[in-house]
Symmetry: C2
């Protein structure tokens, strides 16, 4: 059985710089070289290693179907744009993902798919100077690592250190890009361990809600869902959009807006969303929340079945 | 000739977890495995790749001597502490560096030494779960990449987005740790390219000077040098301390303090310091500065000769 599939993708084609192949029938040529997961396939002179300089996406592959794949790939393209990386060919990225999934053979129904894109070899090194200058792309599907669960979790609010208006003024802070530079996100999780909570929700210095270190936050008031507008400098959540789509299909409503922390705390229910899953929140700081397990289960079932996917692609802040 | 030396260090010994070896004569056992620089020695499941989760140091090795090595290794230990990594054994790190240098054989007198430490294999992946949980350490010496130069450079000030008091309030932001998550630092350099300047100096939202994306900033007023106090959330500059030591040896003085941007701009001269070099600044935003090439050359010669090294280790903010 193959519970971990690792592939090196053909970045010349995935980033569309190899003009000779664009007219070919892509299905005839493999886009991914599958290697043993124990193989060391990354150079220490790669920008991913020297600088955390790259982008990524991750989602669940549920019974062979990558959840919200198109939304993830569109967000990858958005991150690439914010990072001055070449524009990815999303059709070929999607084919490459299918090639990875085709190699999977494990009873676990929901392994994690991760797409890692580095800027390529570090051009400030002797090895990098001899390279192609192209990004590097690795993809893996993993049934043996941490998988998602829907147990209710506790949250603490942590400052992200920025004010709500910084994103527009300082694009070099890369807020809203999903970069490989996640050391601060990891440190937030260690801070959560120290505080004996499961995860964090970040807030601006002026008190507005942002996101969780590797997920989105959604507040429920009656049948109305609210999440912060991504223009504050956060990722646009893929699973959050699926949840909004589910709520609309069930007759409820949704909204993006600037959300002061006290208003988040006053919600009827809270959800953390990521990687194809809606996870209920049992507490935030000193406040506790009831969990509607039936709603959570129905939402996750709808998301995994693909029922909400098309509508979710249309969910965005209203101007 | 060997102009690029790449080594994988024995992290069980460098991080002192292998108790059996501590009583042995370390000089009898190699601490570093030298490999061809083209080799891919990093797993894509390493925290360095998946999360930019690690720390590093870099300096010039001048005619076989790593400049400010002890200060760099002490700073590595400080970064490890801020990142909740195990405590490095600095004596063994220093020996490992010497092993790398012993392999070098190239006419270039000043290659770059880089020490990369990752948290190890990503424990959230199936491959990481089977790992030792130890950090990974790679070191390289590189004569064929970008080397330092002392041409006068132009600077632009860019906001870092934080206020001056955030470091004490939010240690999870890792300010003052030299992490592998440098995507923002790289983005600042791309912003400099767009503005047609050579480098940046970052400032807080409330107008205090911080540092450059991969170096320190020093202002000269007469024979008095000033740099921001590291407690504002910046790295304590190794070459900056060497420059302070040089100035004191020459009869001048130095000071760490909170430095408003206008006071930096009003300096007689400005220097960017990093990797064993003092580099003169010709302009900052709209203001131009004269360059004392003789002073710069004397400072660099003193630093590279080792004349300033011992004194530099004693240079720190006065309480």
């Amino acid at each position: 059985m193959t519970g971990i599939v690792l592939g090196i993708a053909d970045s010349a084609r995935l980033f569309g710089t190899d003009m000779d192949t664009t007219d070919m029938d892509a299905s005839d040529m493999s886009l991914v070289t599958i290697v043993a997961p124990q193989e060391h396939v990354v150079s220490p002179f790669d920008y991913a290693v020297t600088r955390g300089d790259g982008i990524f996406e991750a989602t669940t592959v549920w019974h062979g179907k990558p959840v919200s794949l198109e939304a993830h790939l569109r967000r990858l393209a958005h991150s690439a744009s914010l990072m001055d990386l070449p524009r990815p060919n999303l059709t070929l990225f999607s084919q490459a993902v299918e090639e990875i999934i085709a190699q999977y053979d494990d009873p676990e129904p929901g392994p994690i798919l991760r797409i890692l894109v580095s800027r390529g070899l570090d051009a400030d090194t002797g090895i990098g100077r001899t390279g192609s200058g192209l990004p590097h792309v690795w993809m893996f599907l993993d049934a043996h690592g941490a998988l998602h669960q829907t147990r209710a979790i506790s949250l603490a609010s942590l400052t992200r250190g920025y004010s709500a208006d910084i994103t527009q003024r300082a694009p070099w802070l890369l807020l809203g890009a999903k970069t490989l530079s996640y050391a601060v996100n990891m440190a937030m999780h260690r801070e959560c361990d120290r505080r004996h909570v499961d995860d964090a929700v970040t807030v601006t210095e002026d008190g507005f809600v942002l996101e969780c270190p590797n997920s989105s936050i959604v507040a429920q008031y009656g049948n109305h869902l609210v999440t912060p507008n991504p223009d504050i400098g956060i990722l646009h959540g893929t699973s959050q959009r699926e949840l909004f789509s589910f709520m609309a299909q069930e007759g409820g409503s949704w909204e993006y807006r600037k959300l002061p922390l006290p208003q988040l705390q006053e919600a009827d229910r809270l959800y953390m969303t990521h990687g194809g899953w809606v996870i209920p929140v049992s507490s935030l700081d000193d406040r506790r929340y009831q969990v509607d397990e039936s709603f959570v289960e129905q939402a996750n079932t709808a998301i995994h079945s693909g029922r909400t996917e098309k509508d979710a692609l249309l969910v965005r802040p209203r101007d």
